[in-house]
Amino acid sequence: MAGAAGPAAGSGAAGGDGDDSLYPIAVLIDELRNEDVQLRLNSIKKLSTIALALGVERTRTELLPFLTDTIYDEDEVLLALAEQLGNFTGLVGGPDFAHCLLPPLESLATVEETVVRDKAVESLRQISQEHTPVALEAHFVPLVKRLASGDWFTSRTSACGLFSVCYPRASIAVKGEIKQYFRSLCSDDTPMVRRAAASKLGEFAKVLELDSVKSEIVPLFTNLASDEQDSVRLLAVEACVSIAQLLSQEDIEALVMPTLRQAAEDKSWRVRYMVADKFSELQKAVGPKITLNDLIPAFQNLLKDCEAEVRAAAAHKVKELCENLPIEGRETIIMNQILPYIKELVSDTNQHVKSALASVIMGLATILGKENTIEHLLPLFLAQLKDECPEVRLNIISNLDCVNEVIGIRQLSQSLLPAIVELAEDAKWRVRLAIIEYMPLLAGQLGVEFFDEKLNSLCMAWLVDHVYAIREAATSNLMKLVQKFGTEWAQNTIVPKVLVMANDPNYLHRMTTLFCINALSEACGQEITTKQMLPIVLKMAGDQVANVRFNVAKSLQKIGPILDTDALQVEVKPVLQKLGQDEDMDVKYFAQEAISVLALA
């Protein structure tokens, strides 16, 4: 079919001048119907092009009905369609005609696949804003009602996301109806729908009048928070944040807190986890007074919860919680009500809990100040630095900067060193990789002397690690160190050691020399590069292993721009030319590439 119509369309396009009736719709629809899913998908993704070719009127009268009728397709195609339609208002003739887009989107909002439905809802929300208040009530609200009373759960689930966009612009009578529909979805028979309603509860509350929030949303919230399914209850915790933000202190105390207290002690760990996870948001929403009276005791319980998952989530929030306490009296509260629990967690049985704590605990130093840090926190840091789990130690080391600002790193350096050394030699290469990445930071904080004395040998040892990723990281680590400590330091401590490796019997180590030179040459500058590095590179051009030789070519290409013309012409060029005649294909290739990049031909 497309074959027959194709040429006609082609000639039409050549003759016409942007005429709307240029393309027979059949041709375009054929494309949307193509047997091959991939082609169909491509066509749908260019739906706007098709609409443009058809013009606004035929898009409305022919294309959209077609799309509405042929909704049965692969989800992939439907997803693309749902996305396209959200930006289609202009193509159907502007806001006055936006409602034409509702029928296909309504069908899409009822399909099974969540991703498609969510996208359809997103597009509907977008389009709702383009409706006039009159059109909204005439077309959009009825659609929401139809979805909300659909047979299958999918349409009701989709409806949940649409209430908040039509409520603010609806008339009072319609507002009442909208609330009624939302209410019934909150007590829907299907847990999927209740979950959808619970997850939109906060958003809906925000657009309601304050009185309605108190008289209608709060009871819904209370119900959902005591749903028989924990998957529903935990969503109510999220809604709690939004609702509390809308209410006065007294109202929060009377209307929200009983439910929140109950959630913090829920029999399902998933709900308690959610409370822990949303703790900072909750804290901000309920304000300092309720935080002190209610949330802190709840937090203490979460920190000693029987499920490790919950303890870990709470441990993650320790720093934020402390930061957000009112400054007045903060220190006392932390010292008396939080710190004792933290001390327990340092020796928790679960490594995720300890590592969650280790990732934030250093942040307390700035809040508690120098003396408290030295007296109370330092022992904890030190204990964690000796933890059996490498992740805990890493988390402490990676946050050293917080402590450095308060007490200076020297306090820790005695314990730091064994911890670093042990991590540096950990059997798991990912642990070694992680500690390498903190080296430049540590070097900066510990100073050059300490570094030379204790850490330099580690950095050099990584260069001959048996895992490539470590050798690679070690190389870029050296570059960062040179940037920190300067070229003189490099010349005295690093360069000689790197260059010695050029004579190593292991070709992998010889290549590491080249990689280091690639990384260091720029930081070290012309003089060191020309005088110390270049001779070594050139010498290695005679290596018996081809991999080394083509890396010589690559290195020369890399350091070429740093050298002066003299060195390039006299020293580099002949070597590259020789490599260009190498018997190995790859060596030849890279040598020739270097010659052309350095313009030595």
Binding site: G6, A9, G10, G18, L22, E31, A53, E112
Partner: protein
């Protein structure tokens, strides 16, 4: 926990009854099994008591009296209903990893054992039990199917099966809740450990459905079981799922077309392992298909099979080609050779020349030979028009490209026009008053 013995056979039946209830209450006390050293003695006493209870209800007649039901269900609930702990391994992969076993199994196992003996006892009366084993009870029972411990799920399977068999009033509710669990599994969490067990129960439930099938059941097939094929962990329950699907088709053959179309819609795009499973299921369906139903789906189905035989993954190709070893499928193909041969020919011809795997090439030769014997004339026609057909396809492809190129040009042109008009509008605006300025701003945007 003090020890009381139930073996007081000399006690009067009233005393014995009272003792029975006391023991049940005693077994409501829970112990912390995460701590393996605490309360060792008490744990042992409870274990012995549970054993005694199991023994008591299975060897004695007339001991399950009306007044005991409440205590029995209470004891069972207290022990087995709990929020399942988070998995030790957050990336738990049921196909790869060892499951975390339930720590309190020494007690829970006996409680399940007791529960089963209770349900299976000849004295058991559903009419009394339904006061305690109600919707809420079943709901909690179903949630336990997510347990990571296969031993527990195995017990649950038998327990739920018995409950479904004995409590007619709960059947619709159980089906609906399983429905919800599956939908959540498919569309929300993609995680539920007990899918295979629930499907196994459903297999026998479907077997017992009366004809004609209710709309509710058909909906379950099309909107739950078929989409379930999209799940990541399909391998874990595919056998049970395919069994359920075939059960439905054996009940009502008119479901064949929508089921096959559904499977084609969800056909795996990248996962070869799943594709092999789909092909297996298709063969199971074809084994029971009616020839009239076959005619309805042969075209889309064989288009897919034609893609499968030309898969570069040899296991997929091989699985599809095995269809030709199936006598019944072969007879269906032969009856409809005029339709099927043109669909299959292109792929088979191409693979016979190009496939990397010699086994596949050999299989394809055999298939081609079989097809040739079915209709030699058509086969020859297709062979001679093969090249022309390929060229026509290529031409069509070029025309498509041409069409889209033109469309793109048109789009650019329109965009340009719009820009120009916006520009013109802008130059007009800069010369007019403020009032005008506001209007076009919206129409331009």
């Amino acid at each position: 926990m003090p020890a009381i013995f139930l073996k007081a056979y000399d006690a009067t039946s009233n005393e014995q009854q009272e003792l029975f209830c006391q023991k049940l209450q005693q077994c409501c006390i829970l112990f912390d099994f995460m701590d393996s050293v605490s309360d060792l003695k008490s744990k042992e006493i409870k274990r012995a008591t549970l054993n005694e209870l199991v023994e008591y209800v299975s060897t004695n007649r007339g001991v399950i009296v009306e007044s005991a039901y409440s205590d029995i269900v209470k004891m069972i609930s207290a022990n087995i209903f709990r929020t399942l702990p988070p998995s030790d391994n957050p990336d738990f992969d049921p196909e790869e990893d060892e499951p975390t076993l339930e720590a309190s199994w020494p007690h829970i196992q006996l409680v399940y054992e007791f529960f089963l003996r209770f349900l299976e006892s000849p004295d058991f009366q559903p009419s009394i039990a339904k006061r305690y084993i109600d919707q809420k009870f079943v709901q909690q029972l179903l949630e336990l199917f997510d347990s990571e411990d296969p031993r527990e799920r195995d017990f649950l399977k038998t327990v739920l099966h018995r409950i479904y068999g004995k409590f007619l009033g709960l059947r619709a509710f159980i089906r609906k809740q399983i429905n919800n669990i599956f939908l959540r599994f498919i569309y929300e969490t993609e995680h539920f450990n007990g899918v295979a067990e629930l499907l196994e129960i459903l297999g026998s439930i479907i077997n017992g459905f009366a004809l004609p099938l209710k709309a509710e059941h058909k909906q379950f097939l099309m909107k739950v079981l078929i989409p379930m094929h999209t799940a990541k962990g399909l391998a874990l329950f595919h056998a049970q799922l395919a069994y359920c699907v075939v059960q439905f088709l054996e009940k009502d053959t008119t479901l064949t077309e929508p089921v096959i179309r559904g499977l084609l819609k969800f056909w795996p795009k990248t996962c070869s392992q799943k594709e092999v499973m789909f092909l297996g299921e298709i063969e199971e369906i074809l084994d029971v298909i009616e020839p009239t139903q076959f005619k309805k789906i042969e075209e889309p189905l064989f288009k897919q099979i034609s893609k499968c035989v030309s898969s570069s993954h040899f296991q997929v190709a091989e699985r599809a080609l095995y269809f030709w070893n199936n006598e019944y499928i072969l007879s269906l193909i032969e009856e409809n050779i005029d339709k099927i041969l043109p669909i299959m020919f292109g792929s088979l011809y191409k693979i016979s020349k190009e496939h990397w795997n010699p086994t596949i090439v050999a299989l394809v030769y055999n298939v081609l030979k079989t097809l040739m014997e079915m209709n030699g004339k058509l086969f020859d026609d297709l062979t001679s028009s093969y090249k022309a057909e390929r060229q026509r396809e290529k031409k069509k492809e070029l025309e498509r490209e041409e069409l889209w190129k033109k469309l793109e040009e048109l789009k650019l042109k329109k965009a340009l026009e719009k820009q120009n008009s916006a520009y013109n509008m802008h130059s007009i605006l800069s010369n007019t008053n403020d009032e005008l300025k506001k209007k076009p701003a919206t129409s331009v945007g």
